[in-house]
């Protein structure tokens, strides 16, 4: 096997209670690297089309990359891939922490999990072997308690744990997988997939080695890149403020989702921004191998939420569960964040779902009868803080919201669909396209549904020099981002290191011994993006699923720099058509045969 990889894949069949080890497919590794790309390839080959995501037949993959566990900076994340129960589409999540590196120290580049355990189970992976452990006593426990019990059970404090909470067990479609307490495979309901498999947790411990061809050169390269390309003004915001620093610039651009996307600015933003966070900051935290250390470990010291300790809240939590719910009490948001971590909920989708329910309540579409007596108005902390529990345990309105805003509106009716803000049923994150039009396209064509980590044109529009209200050049901008991020997520490098193709090629080559050039990794990025589209096309996804929410196309934004703007349907359609054309896809958004051939995705 080449360097970087450990060369083995763990296969786990929960139905038959069997595990086995096999060689990593080196031909695929060469074409797709790891993480997103290699995971997408395995998923495409092994998942039967139109599989129910919550059936035993769904496949869940934990996939590392050739840099995971090495000294390469900001590069020890890993991917979790499956078919999403929320979107019915391809799902890839990227997780920091330490479990990815530990999986390689345990002797595996990846774990591919299928089937359904007969009874609650956790998987124990250690040094080239895996076994099934009884999780009966862990059922219903929150994630922090689960991790603690597993470490006690295995008598090793250094075990790394990925677990689900009550939300995942109850198949909430916004359930996440939480790893190392505060890191998450957050979006799209991967936690529900684990829940459907009766798999409470995956515990990993390893003492094996990761080799690279010339380790001294590799470390020197890691240090050189850290100095010249990581610890630079482009990335140092992560070290200084972490993501809460975004609030200010998003507010200035007028695209901070507020009151369920009715407004683009939040008047109380200074109560929840990076300055406010600094007051409760205890220390910084980093994932394996990261010199930036963006994590803010915070502690609430007074008031009704005193004692809350959490890594966060991050920007997306502050935006979706703060501004979007009109909550300006930072301690309450920290508590919400901790509850979501413990119950196993995606803080973005959950925040959006609460905001949606608040608008329903204020419009009289739902009443106290539906909310367990809660007065669910915007900004009401007492009601807000109860909502994660209702969703995770599927009680009263929580049972409906646990399905995501799109399905919730189908059930609630009364015109509520007009203000569900999602693409492919995945709730929007924190950048309103009405003041950054390229984001409308980025969300619509993102493989896993509305996501800011597949393309981020806001960086050039809302925060850069490009006109944020016009469509020209935006399709190409989205494509360029998608291709770069696709290979970045395949390596797997963290979002917060703004790496370019040259250093992707250098680091990947140094780890594997391949002689990759900038052009090679560019093609891999395009290949990976087309691979995930192929997956989605096979699941029946086409142009009609690459959507623009009504709220964004019809309701003029209130407040701030984008006041009065909508994303006009005609503008959106123009960008979408241009995007398909530039991609080499047909009018329905299906990759053309010539494109697939050129990328070696079909013979």
């Amino acid at each position: 096997m080449q360097g970087g990889y450990v060369g083995k894949i763990l296969r786990v069949d929960l139905s038959r209670e069997k595990t086995s080890s096999e060689d990593l497919n080196t031909q695929w590794a060469r074409m797709f690297i790891g993480g997103k790309g290699l995971g997408a390839k395995y998923l495409f080959e092994e998942l039967k089309p139109n599989t129910d995501p919550l059936s035993p037949e769904n496949v869940m993959i934990i996939m590392t990359g050739p840099l995971t566990g090495t000294t390469a900076p900001c590069a020890s994340r890993y991917a979790v891939l499956t078919k999403s129960p929320l979107t019915g589409a391809f799902l890839d999540c990227y997780v920091g922490g330490y479990l990815g590196a530990e999986l390689k120290f345990a002797g595996f580049d990846a774990a591919i999990i299928t089937g359904k355990a007969e009874k609650p189970t956790y998987l124990w992976i250690a040094d080239g072997k895996a076994e099934f452990k009884d999780a009966k006593d862990l059922s219903g426990l929150d994630i922090h308690e689960t991790e603690k019990r597993i470490k006690e059970d295995l008598e090793d404090k250094e075990v790394k744990v990925a677990a689900i909470g009550p939300a995942g067990e109850n198949l909430a479609k916004m359930a996440c997988i939480t790893v190392d307490l505060y890191r998450h495979a957050g979006r799209g309901g991967a936690g529900a997939v684990m829940g459907s498999k009766n798999l409470k947790a995956v515990a990993v411990r390893g003492h094996q080695s990761i080799s690279v061809p010339k380790i001294e050169d590799f470390i020197a390269l890691s240090q050189e890149i850290t100095k010249d390309d990581v610890l630079t003004p482009d990335n140092e915001w992560a070290k200084i403020d972490g993501t809460p620093g975004f609030l200010r610039m998003v507010q200035e651009a007028g695209i901070l989702p507020t009151r369920n996307f009715q407004m683009g600015v939040f008047e109380h933003v200074n109560k929840i921004d990076e300055v406010a966070i600094k007051k409760i900051l205890v220390r910084r935290r980093a994932c394996y191998g990261c010199p930036l250390g963006c994590g803010n470990l915070t502690q609430v010291k007074e008031g009704p939420f005193a004692g809350t300790i959490v890594e966060g809240p991050e920007y997306e939590t502050l935006a979706m569960a703060g501004a979007n719910c009109y909550i300006s009490d930072l301690a309450a948001i920290a508590k919400y964040n901790l509850l979501c971590d413990q119950l196993g909920l995606d803080t973005i989708s959950t925040g959006d779902a609460i905001a949606f329910a608040m608008e329903c309540y204020e419009r009289g579409i739902i009443t106290e009868k539906d909310t367990n007596g809660l007065e669910l108005t915007f900004g009401n902390v007492e009601a807000y803080i109860e909502m994660p529990k209702l969703i995770a345990y599927r009680e009263s309105i929580g049972d409906i919201l646990a399905e995501g805003v799109s399905r919730a509106a189908e059930k609630i009716g009364k015109g509520s669909g007009h203000f569900t803000v999602h693409a492919k049923r995945l709730e929007y994150p924190g950048y309103d396209p009405r003041g950054s039009i390229g984001m409308a396209l980025a969300y619509a064509v993102s493989d896993r549904g509305a996501c800011h980590l597949r393309a981020w044109p806001a960086n050039s529009e809302a925060f850069g020099d490009l006109d944020p209200f016009t469509t020209e050049g935006k399709a190409q901008l989205v494509i360029d981002d998608q291709n770069l991020y696709s290979v970045k997520w395949s390596l797997v490098v963290c979002d917060f290191y703004a790496i370019g193709y040259p250093n992707i090629a250098r680091l990947c080559s140094a780890a594997t011994g391949w002689n990759l050039k900038e052009e090679d990794v560019k093609i891999i990025g395009e290949r990976v993006w087309n691979q995930t589209r192929q997956f989605n096309v096979r699941e029946g996804i086409s142009r009609e699923n690459d959507t623009l929410p009504e709220r964004i196309s019809k309701d003029p934004l209130k407040g701030g720099r984008a006041e009065g703007h909508v994303v006009a349907r005609a503008d959106f359609d123009k960008m979408l058509g241009e995007y398909y054309q530039l991609r080499g896809w047909d009018e329905e958004g299906r990759p053309r045969k010539e494109k697939l051939k050129a990328l070696e995705l079909v013979a």
Partner: protein, 134 residues
């Protein structure tokens, strides 16, 4: 020469363990490094490395039943003689600083030797958690 640990600076990134193992065993394997990170989260706000700080009292030396921890006169610190060490772990228990541990595969205790002069953990640590003092 001593190593000083400033635990409140540690982010838990483990780069120290990665470069240490690269020197000691020639590949990335923090479980075979001379230092390790302990996290007591979420119950306590503690994340910190443990490594031999080259203390003056060196109880490990006195505890070793086979006299395998010997003075390196050039460096002025005590190091483990891997040939003489039988991996009994008496030194690990004797150290009040959690500064030694046993190799998971071979029969010897791992003890920091400050990379014989240029401590690589100190060099790579992004937060200045580790410092060499005279």
């Amino acid at each position: 020469m001593r190593l000083e640990i400033l635990p409140e600076r540690c982010t838990g990134c483990q780069l120290c363990g990665a470069v240490c193992s690269a020197r000691l065993v020639g590949n990335f394997n923090p479980s075979r490094a001379a230092l390790y990170i302990e996290s007591l989260l979420p119950d306590q706000l503690v994340v910190r490395p443990y490594v031999c700080i080259h203390c003056e009292e060196h109880p490990c030396v006195d505890a070793c039943p086979v006299e395998a921890i010997v003075e390196d006169e050039e460096l002025g610190i005590y190091v483990v003689d891997k040939e003489a060490c039988n991996g009994c772990g008496t030194c690990v228990d004797a150290c009040p600083y959690n500064g030694l541990r046993l190799d998971p595969f071979e029969m010897y205790a791992i003890k920091c030797d400050v990379c014989r002069g240029k401590a690589r953990c100190v060099e790579i640590c992004p937060t200045g958690t580790l410092e060499v003092t005279e």
